[in-house]
Symmetry: C2
Subunit: 240 residues, 2 copies
Amino acid sequence: MRDAGVVGVLGGMGPLATVDFLRKVIVATPAQVDQDHVPVLASSIPQVPDRTAAFRGVGESPLPALVASGQRLVRAGAGLIVIPCNTAHLWFEPLADTLRLPMLHLVDAALAEARALAGTRARIGLLGTEATLASGLYTGRGRPGLRWLLPTDTEMARLVTPGIWAVKAGDTAAATALLRQAAQALADRGAETIVLGCTEIPLVLDMALSPVPVIDATAALARRSVAWSLEQVALVASAA
Amino acid sequence: MRDAGVVGVLGGMGPLATVDFLRKVIVATPAQVDQDHVPVLASSIPQVPDRTAAFRGVGESPLPALVASGQRLVRAGAGLIVIPCNTAHLWFEPLADTLRLPMLHLVDAALAEARALAGTRARIGLLGTEATLASGLYTGRGRPGLRWLLPTDTEMARLVTPGIWAVKAGDTAAATALLRQAAQALADRGAETIVLGCTEIPLVLDMALSPVPVIDATAALARRSVAWSLEQVALVASAA
């Protein structure tokens, strides 16, 4: 059964980021009762090879595991695929080619909100995995370009990367301290807003803890997913 | 692909309770990296007719929608089905007959923890929907029996039912106030522990806010689901 507006979530990278995304879908939905909420299928199969290691060429490709997880959503009747993991978007195009369902791009959702909040003249900080930064996933995508400010190699090695891994290991206190320092360093160098470009980061660093306003890529994708679903349901209703 | 240990979550009743269950699965798993976590598929399709209305005979049966949602999980390759909604367990047996996958019963998971924490001599309070209470879902299940203490009709009408609906409508503050009063009333009448027998309730009433220790049925089911998954993976590993 492929009901209208069923959002398929290709998750598990990490599992807590998937839960955060699902919660943000609910928060982004105008609803009074259960039945008002958006129908969602989630495949949270965390046995996906490490994305950053694969980008560096030192680990196996996550693509076969991503395809297998996405095909579970196809078989279950999803009408859309979204991936609440920034780094996994390095494999977005081959995934879209294989799964043959509409997909929303996490980075496009975040960039649209960054452009609306900060404009193209403000300096925008970016926090993400090594692979997200080194691949230009954000900095190379979208026109007009934005004025990016990235962490230094030292900040990546001492703060950002260990902060992300601390989230995955469930060490929230350590993760908050590390990522807050990384955000402060970007703000000190002139960042007027910071894009949280790894879905582990908003789990521990939110608007209240950041020295400057943040763009939460997870929330941006959640809002787009809800809009897609409500639109599909309205289309079916108007056709009936 | 039916990989070992894939937990299928038949959810959406309500969606936030499903997210709470998924989070509790993660918390209950010993893990340092993404790949250590339990593989989970979730079907959170909230378009399921109201369970309490159906029990009263004034609404359509939720069974066809529950079967359809469960079949999505079967097609996606789940090896187990669990349902993070107490009231939906009134349709547990016909669901199990149709889906033909192993299922864990939420009430059995909660009763085992209640028995271990409070024993069979302590008085145990119960909070849940009208249908959960009136059907004897808890009070009629399992031997040896427990010494139950239920909310009065007035407490159900003024505190418990509106509290559960306030959770579904996202009004956390109102829900907390109402359900805390209901828990206090049970404690005042001698409840030594309280079973949170509706998955909306632990979203707003936890150990810290309750006047006596609580049994969180959602967490109990999450722990059993993780144990099932890890056992399946170990079985496959030992056979290899």
